[in-house]
């Protein structure tokens, strides 16, 4: 790997100019997915979370999904345990009903007088199998675009939807994906792959890193061959042909693999949605689009192997970021000693775009 950086000045361990990165809260003024569309059946409600805020998603028999604070104004029990009735959801406990706007529209046993306060509502949109909410200032929702979701709408690709809960701050996830030197960890799955860092781009709210790879040992795994649509050998001819571009476009992340002048063979979109109020856990929503090879049906046939392969990779990644979080918990702060400039830039970006934790 040709190095294009030196470590003459390693910055103070762990800190960004904004302080401890793991205490930086995610910026709520973006669209965050909080559920897969298939999780929410017609006429039902489910409970989900963003950064400690419980959110009830409601899918009425007619009309679009809506999102309310998941606590009845009466006794704070989850509305998502309730019953959907027309364009409203009725709390399971005493039957208080709330409309799409969050206003309380009925208390079944109430006498004369004004209705009690309602609950908070969240701007909500559904796209390509994901349900998004806008947890920040609702006035900004309309002007904030939804992200492009990999190749979900492109028939040339097959897309895998995946995700799970990971017990770490979202920043560990961004760093994990962008620092391809961690290929070392996936050696058992991938064989020995030597990354070459090509360079980085930095813009407002985004950072991008580009790599190529050469196989230096081991056999190409089936999963990888599937991604590239062909079996590649170890010769110099193929080494460093495909460029991997990893980009954090706050708060989302993408990873694309493509040879010059051709469409990507792989296009990943992924986001890490904080779950608890401290944001020390996150739920991953990932869309992995793979270009269909010329032979029809081949990708579908091979799909189970590809799923298993990516699961193993993801499982190794999850273990290591949870160990990073556990070390942070024990040490009571970030002691990261970063030597890789693109990761230092990424850390600054995440700190700038996020919300500094309130000093206590």
């Amino acid at each position: 790997m040709n190095q294009i950086f030196s470590t003459d000045s390693i910055p103070p361990a762990g800190l960004t100019p904004e302080g401890d990165l793991r205490r930086v809260r995610s910026n709520p003024d973006f669209w965050y997915p909080v559920a897969w569309s298939r999780e929410l059946k017609v006429g039902k409600t489910i409970g989900t979370r963003y950064a400690g805020q419980p959110i009830a998603l409601v899918r009425p028999a007619e009309g679009e999904v809506f999102a309310l604070e998941d606590r009845c104004a009466h006794r704070q029990v989850p509305l998502s345990k309730g019953v959907v009735k027309g364009q409203a959801v009725q709390c399971c406990y005493h039957g208080w009903a709330y409309g799409r706007s969050g206003r309380c529209i009925d208390v079944p046993y109430l006498g004369k007088g004004k209705l009690p306060n309602g609950v908070r509502t969240y701007p909500c949109r559904e796209q390509d199998g994901l349900i998004f909410v806008f947890p920040g200032d609702p006035e900004r929702a309309a002007a904030t675009p939804l992200p492009r979701l990999a190749q979900t709408t492109n028939p040339d690709y097959k897309t895998r939807r995946f995700g799970r809960h990971v017990k770490c701050h979202y920043s560990f996830m961004h760093e994990n994906l962008m620092d391809m030197n961690h290929q070392f960890m996936h050696m058992k799955q991938m064989g020995q792959m030597k990354p070459r860092f090509l360079g980085q781009d930095r813009g407002p709210g985004m950072i991008e890193a580009r790599y190529t790879f050469a196989r230096t040992g081991g056999k190409q795994p089936l999963g990888e061959a599937l991604v590239f649509g062909q079996k590649r050998d170890n010769s110099a001819k193929y080494a460093h042909r495909d460029v991997m571009t990893i980009r954090t476009e706050y708060p989302y992340q993408t990873l694309k693999i493509q040879a010059e002048g051709t469409p990507p063979v792989m296009d990943l979109w992924i986001v890490y949605v904080p779950q608890d109020a401290e944001e020390m856990t996150n739920r991953v929503f990932g869309l992995l689009s793979i270009k269909r090879p010329r032979v029809p049906g081949l990708l579908d046939m091979a799909w189970p192997f590809l799923v298993a392969f990516t699961e193993r990779i993801f499982s190794e990644d999850r273990e290591i970021v949870e160990l990073e979080q556990a070390a942070w918990d024990e040490l009571g702060g970030d002691h990261n000693q970063e030597v890789f400039p693109v990761i230092r830039s990424l850390r600054e970006l995440l700190a700038e775009c996020g919300i500094p934790a309130a000093r206590s």
Copy 2:
């Protein structure tokens, strides 16, 4: 339901004049059950709790049950792990022995000199299958009456003893039982029952709410039919005939169903004994007396169905109050927005009769 109240002036959310109700401690100057008689065999000792205080109950071969602080004065291990010997209990670790009064009466290996300090003792009484202690000022115990325990001693009734641990402050339990508008939650078990609130009474240390019911949908469940001793139809003839009276007589609660001028068909006595020091968990002791119908043996035969029916109801109640507690924990305080005057009065009563949490 005829409403006899308005909500023109909903009080500030969550607060009673004494502050956050969920921080009000139970008043120890009452008799609290801490175990069922059948749990404590002759010649044995068991450990139990009241509001974070560990209590060893001891049943000697002769004489009445007694109750000691469940921590040996030597090394604070539970005396309830020990051995009953005559009128004393001997710690399992080094054999220190304590009498009925809590005094240390023997240290097997002790030389000359005074015996060490003993442990606290609790006034203790056993009645109708329950073991009560008086955790407050012992001087008040004798003058404080034991409560009347449903119809346990009346041969016209069959009584079910039930209980379990519930993870919430005891006040949620009182509110749950007294607000019959939560019939909405039991719709699956009970069918649609419309409660009509008849009125309330308030006295020193007590509050009472009265309701009637009319079935507006669904079939009468078997369990309910058993309670009423006959199958009732949906006609106006039977609607609103039986009056349900729910009473908190601090710290106990009762629920009776009876038609005017007749003995109750159902008579429930229940109490919620705080377990941990913060009183955010409680153990329920309930006695449910059902009047025997004229056909002998019918109630005994039907008993398993009635048990299953009441278990399902209780299980729904437990789930919801634990969700209330979980919401309180997350919000760090009570945000209850109560519109029902009888529940507002109940909350005031519980706050008045309890012990305000020390300001920290």
Copy 3:
């Protein structure tokens, strides 16, 4: 039991002159075992702990075991998840490598410039199947002797290695073993054994208590007969013949049983290594040497019974010390009311030799 002490002046409950004994930290300027040799295979690394410090033990293919701080300097993930390569361990995540000295000797993708900081190293020794580290001032390690490990090297004895995690402060373990009046607790396993306290010795960093025993009831258990190499009866002839000597030689503890002028029939060496930073849990490492009887093979044949017997004893001890710790947790401090002078001395010794907890 002849008492040679009085309790006219029981000291204030729970406190040593240094304060709460359970807040006294173990003194790191000693050799502590952190693993059994057999746990660490050639060419592998494992993670272990001393008082909240994670320690990676590394056994290279050639050369001695070494011990490093178990956190990569880069992202603080455990080095013990890494790969041993020559005389170095390589972090599993990005492949940073550390030598025996803890210095970072390679970052595979690093450009020009100085290598980043390394990690802490611990003096490390292996003896008789145990791996020791010296967590204190490394300059003192060479001059601090390793303890004598029971009779592990004496062919006249067979030695059992045992241990497990116990959820309590190490001081409860010392007190448990030294106060033989707790034979009361093992009555089911041992029958009634009456201890007689013969006296104590106190020196710098050490305290010793001596007892004899007489059987006052029950049959001699098989395990005990094995230890003594013969079946002893209850007659006065054998009572009080064997002397049990229990010694805390900080931070280790030993227990020997021997008749005057003969080698010990049993020789136990044991240590309680704090695991968490608060030192409220410990890992036991014990070596129990039993003198082989004259009949060859007898001890080996009987070994499984002896193992089961000692496991039952140890299991009772573990339960009780964990109950002591639980009571300490609940009470928020030590309320021990000690009447036995040798235990009072032991408590002073542990407080003197340990490190007072920082006042917070």
